[in-house]
């Protein structure tokens, strides 16, 4: 166990963050080299420097298709995987905090069902008016619409209670799931495309995917960090939090929308990748404690590292690529059972 820092000031966490950033960079470097075509880390560094500086002298002696493989094929996929891993973890931390429930995850409020519904419509009706981004756009629209439906359903006298949110999320997700099942039923040959999309993939990601997710996730992260201390205090319960000067409804709504938009963009580019947003915050809370100010950056970085590793396993280690959503659930599920059991033994709860 890591030491519990005196009074939880954010300074103490800096070395851990630097270490995690370092690990993330190493993982990015090595995973870029891994795959059908093996490229050494040194060559990867040279290619990246050549791209950034525009100086092709660095490419001397490197197979001429390597820069293409690194820059156009692998890096967009790798960076998207890392950003999505970070984004889902941030959203997980925030959802667990707002809903006062350590078992909540980015999909608790039906955001994933909304995205899946949107994507299924686009795939079923073969909508391509926006080219390759049609499905992502439909998925995003579906998840945002779901979010507002959930907020509308759960708010009463201008308040948002966590129980109402969870219940509304479950109800709406159930309705949407039925819709998705129906679409699968009528889809005929498209059904495999829908199923494949739902299982998640980072295949054929492009630089626009990278920049779009990075934009959402980084802005979202800044907003969440801004309200991190308020989120700590909300865990005391609404009455205590508001007696400590926190506008619980406003903070909750802001963070809910922020975390949901992060989730929506992640799901739109990568499909439904389960367990990351549940396990990473859980695991990190175990190491750095529940203080959101530490938990957010540490979870974001660990989520990025782990999802990137998982994607690298399906892409470069396994002989046949299995969907990333299936892999995270297969690894994450049993692992979660383990920590859940262990944690209960520790607290006797």
């Amino acid at each position: 166990m890591l030491k519990k820092s005196e009074f939880g000031t954010s300074m103490k966490v800096a070395p851990q963050i630097i270490l995690l950033i370092f690990i993330l960079l190493i993982v990015i470097l090595f995973s870029t080299g891994m795959g059908y075509i093996e490229i050494s880390p040194l060559e990867v560094i040279k290619i990246i420097i050549a791209k950034i500086s525009g100086n092709n002298a660095f490419l001397h002696g490197i197979n001429e298709i390597f820069p293409y493989v690194v820059y156009d094929v692998r890096l967009p996929r790798i960076l998207t995987a890392a950003i999505v891993g970070g984004g889902l973890s941030i959203a997980g931390v925030v959802y667990q905090g707002i809903l006062l429930n350590p078992l909540a995850d980015p999909y608790t409020l039906g955001i994933s069902a909304g995205a899946a519904f949107g994507a299924a419509i686009a795939l079923l009706l073969n909508i391509t008016l926006l080219g390759i981004y049609s499905v992502a756009l439909f998925a995003f629209t579906g998840s945002v619409a779901t979010l507002f439906a959930v907020i509308f359903l759960s708010s009463s006298d201008g308040r948002l209670s966590s129980n109402n949110l969870i219940l509304s999320g479950i109800i709406i997700a159930a309705i949407l799931s039925a819709g998705i099942s129906f679409m699968k039923y009528v889809a005929d040959e498209q059904v495999s495309i829908i199923i494949f999309w739902l299982m998640g993939s980072f295949g054929s990601k492009t630089w626009p995917d990278v920049s779009l997710t990075f934009l959402f996730v980084s802005i979202g992260f800044i907003i969440c960090i801004f309200f991190a201390r308020d989120l700590n205090i909300i865990s005391l319960g609404d009455r205590s939090a508001s007696s400590l000067g926190i506008d619980t409804t406003r903070v909750r709504l802001t963070l809910l929308i922020t975390a949901s938009l992060i989730t929506a963009i992640c799901v739109s580019v990568s499909g439904i990748i389960g367990f990351v947003g549940l396990i990473i915050p859980h695991l990190m809370r175990f190491f750095v404690g529940p203080d959101t100010r530490k938990l957010l950056p540490v979870s974001a970085l660990t989520g990025a590292i782990l999802l990137l590793c998982a994607d690298t396993i399906t892409r470069a280690v396994l002989t046949a690529e299995i969907p990333i959503g299936v892999l995270t659930a297969l690894i994450g599920g049993p692992f979660f059972c383990y920590i859940f059991k262990r944690k209960r033994r520790r607290t006797g709860g």
Binding site: F7, S235, R239
Partner: protein
């Protein structure tokens, strides 16, 4: 309506849907007093207290804090004036005791700042006083109900406000800690001129520690005044519909209420 009142509550009503929880209730809370709010379950005590911390807004009527409409205060500003020990204290995340108590300093610590040494001193002092310092590094989730409640109490005391609202704040504590806490709170009423408004179930503790009692029934105040004037057999009978006997107890130096069995066989 005197200007120096802490709260001036004027004709407030509050509805939950169609149910009236508070019915045209008026009350002035004077500074430097320990108020005990007494009444049967569901009489509106918690709703009244929620209105004083602006957790709820009355459906009609006004409430003023220090002569100024409570709505005009900023949330942070009010948090520097009034602290609350709530009835429920369930915390799902394993913060340490010290971290929880430090949260009481939240209104005084600017965003992105670390707590000052003054903040930390208050936190340590309060933990010492409430005898929770020995488990300051334990997780809140590992404590018993009574211990948790002392931590929540410490959190409110660390806020160090001129007004303290207690909603059954000692319900889960044993008698030792209940007395310890009421003593700490009661003496701060005398020495720091703090104003305390407490919903209490234990009539005899209320008689020992409170300066004034407010008796509530069905969303109204039926009797209020000094303990001597209000704590009477007929008033208790009126509110709780129970037979009782009240006498002056020399040991506790206060009036005490006693009851007897209704069915002997």
């Amino acid at each position: 309506m005197a200007d120096n009142n802490v709260f001036d509550i004027n004709n407030i009503s509050f509805y939950y849907g169609k149910n009236k929880a508070l019915d045209n209730l008026s009350l002035a809370i004077e500074p430097g007093n320990f108020y005990g709010i007494i009444g049967p379950n569901g009489c509106g005590k918690t709703t009244l207290l929620d209105i004083t911390v602006r957790e709820k807004t009355p459906s009609s009527g006004t409430i003023q804090y220090l002569g100024c409409d409570i709505k005009k205060y900023s949330r942070k500003g009010l948090a520097k004036e009034i602290s609350l020990v709530p009835q429920d204290f369930y915390i799902n995340f394993s913060f340490t005791v010290k971290e929880i108590v430090l949260m009481g300093r939240h209104p005084f610590i600017p965003r992105f700042s670390s707590p000052s040494s003054f903040d930390l001193d208050i936190v340590n002092e309060v933990m010492e006083e409430l005898k929770i310092i020995k488990f300051k590094d334990k997780y809140i989730t590992e404590l018993s109900g009574g211990e948790k409640q002392r931590v929540i109490f410490a959190r409110a005391l660390a806020q160090n406000t001129p007004v303290l609202i207690l909603d059954e704040g000692t319900s889960n504590m044993d008698i030792q800690y209940t007395l310890n806490i009421l003593d700490i709170v009661g003496s701060s009423v005398k020495t720091k001129k703090r104003t305390v408004v407490a919903a209490l179930h234990n009539l005899n503790l209320a008689a020992v520690f409170c300066d004034k009692l407010v008796f509530m029934k069905s969303g109204r105040i039926v009797h209020h005044g000094s303990v001597d004037n209000v704590l009477k057999e007929e008033n208790i009978k009126d509110i709780f519909e129970i037979d009782n006997h009240i006498y002056f107890d020399h040991y506790s130096n206060s009036k005490q209420v006693v009851f007897k069995r209704k069915r002997l066989a």
